[in-house]
């Protein structure tokens, strides 16, 4: 089931009389293809959860419409939309057993949809098996670990076979190890059921690793939508570039003069098709090559050996962050006695942004050698 958002806007009235309305979601337009896993990604307070609440119907939009396939569900109450929602804190009923929690949505069905007890049991068992908790059915939620509770919550959301599955910060309450495991699990469940799944996260790692598509948001405005790798390789503005990637992208003040990019005072590389102007320069940590003749020079602080690769930490006068972090292959030897370290830059890992608007400025480069 594809999900289409058209001009979706949500304004919350101001708490004070004179204050401005808070625009949590501002004119969203995008289409989520059927059967995909979508990550809504953004910093805290950017309207991700509000978007989710709008899709599931717990909040009504101020403007715009929501379509599931060809159905306009904008005015439908949540229960008639056919969505399953997994809450951030799972919201499992603490006084009911796991089985009763999973059965709960089925017991609500009325009229023609009403199921017999064996039918309900069968569906509940199916859902429980899918998330692999069929051993724990008699337990109370308080007797489960965080990861297990998460699975029960997913089973409860899936048991009615929703058209769309929504997950609100599904991994934020889990410890690091469980997080890795659970995100694989979510991926597996999504692929087994083929249900269009939208999840909200502020963790870009999480979103990048399992999503078919990510939607990057900032302050209620959608920034970019696309496949994770495409968004990473081709960010539309400085915000998206800094938000994606660990370690984060290095940002410098720079300028373009006569087709040459200057970072601080140093000319570092030729850029084609860019008028002379002040720019923000973003260089991905993996965009540095150790090169004695390199044009990018920074002051060496320390070298961190991680095994697989080496992280060179240095300072640069034009850098916006206190340290510049470059990741190079571990077989490169950095001369730690020298104060300055020189790099050549990979042009496809360098991004230019307008100094005022932060919008991306495309440039061309000549392939070397």
């Amino acid at each position: 089931m594809k999900v289409v958002l058209q001009h979706l806007t949500k304004r919350f009235p101001s708490r004070t009389k004179k204050g401005d309305d808070v625009i949590a979601v501002n004119d969203f337009n995008f289409e989520i293809p059927s059967g995909k896993l979508i990550g809504l990604l953004g910093p805290s307070g950017c309207g991700k959860s509000t978007t989710l609440n709008l899709i599931c119907g717990l909040e009504a939009p101020t403007e715009g419409s929501i379509l599931f396939g060809e159905d306009d569900v904008t005015r439908l109450p949540p229960e008639n939309r056919g969505v399953g929602l997994v809450f951030q804190n799972y919201a499992l009923y603490p006084h009911l057993t796991v089985l009763d929690n999973i059965l709960f949505p089925l017991q609500n069905l009325k009229g023609a949809d009403k199921l017999t007890k064996p039918q309900m049991m069968e569906k509940a068992m199916q859902a429980a098996k899918l998330v692999q908790i069929d051993e724990l059915l008699e337990r109370k939620p308080s007797e489960l670990s965080g990861g297990q509770q998460q699975r029960v919550a997913i089973a409860r959301a899936l048991v009615k076979m929703p058209r769309v599955l929504l997950l609100d910060e599904p991994l934020s309450n889990l410890d690091a190890r469980l997080r890795l495991q659970t995100r694989e699990e979510i991926r597996r469940i999504q692929q087994e059921t083929g249900i269009t799944t939208i999840f909200v996260t502020h963790d870009q790692d999480e979103a990048m690793s399992i999503s078919d598509m990510i939607v990057v948001m900032k302050a209620g405005v959608m920034q970019q939508i696309g496949q994770p790798q495409d968004v990473y390789d081709d960010p539309i503005n400085l915000f998206v570039a800094t938000f994606l990637g660990t370690p984060p992208i290095n940002v410098f003040d720079g300028c373009v003069k006569g087709g040459m990019l200057y970072v601080g005072e140093d000319p570092v590389m030729a850029v084609g098709g860019v008028a002379d102007q002040q720019v923000s320069v973003g260089i991905r940590p993996e965009g540095f090559n150790l090169d004695p003749q390199g044009t990018f020079r920074s002051n060496l602080v320390r070298v961190e050996v991680m095994g697989r690769d080496t992280s060179v930490v240095s300072t640069h006068p034009a850098s916006r962050n206190p340290f510049v972090r470059s990741i190079i292959r571990a077989d490169n030897q950095v001369d730690r006695t020298k104060k300055t370290v020189c790099f050549s830059l990979m042009p496809n890992k360098v991004f230019l942004f307008d100094a005022q608007t932060d919008a991306r400025i495309p440039f061309t480069w000549e392939a070397q050698k």
């Binding site: 717990l58 809450f87 919201a91 009923y93 006084h95 709960f104 017991q107 609500n108």
Partner: protein, 296 residues
């Protein structure tokens, strides 16, 4: 280790002294009096030791009347007041505007003096030479015949006493239940909404189990409080409760000690211990039931 435990005892000493002097010692004393026949507090003498006091009290028609009154009071007021308080709290929880105002109004009886409330009830119910009381006026308005609620038939008096008791204990229950309702995580309701849960099912399957510990607390303390009722009856019917036929167990104990027919600490002690046994039994039964029905 030993030094540390000494220190602990030292810290506990003031509390132990006070509790020992003013709670444990009197309790033991009461137990002893209840077995001493014809104890005289002036001369500190008694005839013998045995179950005579209990036998006397259990055959005393006044005590049996008090026992009956207390049980009726308990059985009527505890469920009714808890139920009505739950309804009011649900109402308060459902409205947004003026909620604080209503909460204050519902809490006012709690801070009002028992005897002042008694006075108000007198105005409502008492028949005097000048007026039949507000309630009787209303009854007459609707074509009924007036009833003397204060000096009249037993059921009328019992009705007033129950009404009064419910009215007095209600505010505290409303307060507790409103806060219990407010502390239920709204996510549960959102989750229920997602699953198209009917309102009655939300109430019985989610709200009620979630606040069940508080309801249970109110029922237990309600039972205990109702069994200890006395001042309410005095406020309505005056101090000679035996004559009014509206005595309670605590009233009986008081009368045996200080009333017109008083001066019998042994009988009073026996009656007090019977009350203690009843309350203990009821509370144990409550605890057993709650294990099955209260969650967490």
């Amino acid at each position: 280790m030993k030094k540390r435990s000494m220190k602990g005892w030292l810290y506990l000493l003031p509390a132990i002294l006070f509790l020992g002097c003013f709670m444990v010692y009197p309790l033991i004393d009461v137990l002893i009096y209840s077995f001493e026949e014809g104890y005289n507090s002036a001369s500190q003498t008694y005839y013998g030791i045995g179950l005579y006091n209990y036998r006397y009290v259990l055959h005393d028609p006044y005590f049996l009347q008090a026992l009956r009154n207390t049980f009726i009071l308990v059985i009527i007021t505890v469920p009714l007041s808890t139920g009505i308080a739950l309804l009011i709290s649900l109402g308060l929880h459902a409205i947004k505007p003026l909620r604080n105002l209503y909460q204050t109004i519902y809490f006012l009886p709690y801070v009002t003096n028992t005897l002042a409330v008694g006075l108000v009830f007198m105005i409502l119910f008492k028949k005097t030479a000048y007026s039949d009381g507000l309630v009787n006026l209303l009854l007459q308005w609707f074509g009924g015949s007036s009833v003397d609620f204060i000096d009249g038939p037993y059921w009328a008096k019992m009705f007033v006493l129950c009404f009064y008791t419910i009215w007095v204990v209600m505010p505290f229950k409303v307060l507790i239940l409103t806060s219990a309702l407010a502390s239920v995580n709204p996510e549960y309701y959102s989750a229920a909404k997602m699953d198209a849960t009917s309102k009655s099912r939300v109430f019985f399957k989610i709200t009620l189990p979630m606040i069940s510990p508080m309801i249970f607390y109110l029922v237990i303390t309600g039972f205990i409080g109702a069994f200890k009722a006395y001042s309410d009856a005095v406020a309505l019917f005056g101090t000679d409760l035996n004559a009014a036929g509206m005595n309670t167990i605590v009233g009986y104990v008081y009368d045996m000690l200080y009333g017109n027919s008083g001066g019998y600490p042994s009988f009073a002690s026996a009656a007090a211990l019977i009350l203690f046994a009843i309350v203990l039994t009821i509370t144990c039964v409550n605890l057993l039931i709650s294990k099955k029905h209260v969650h967490y």
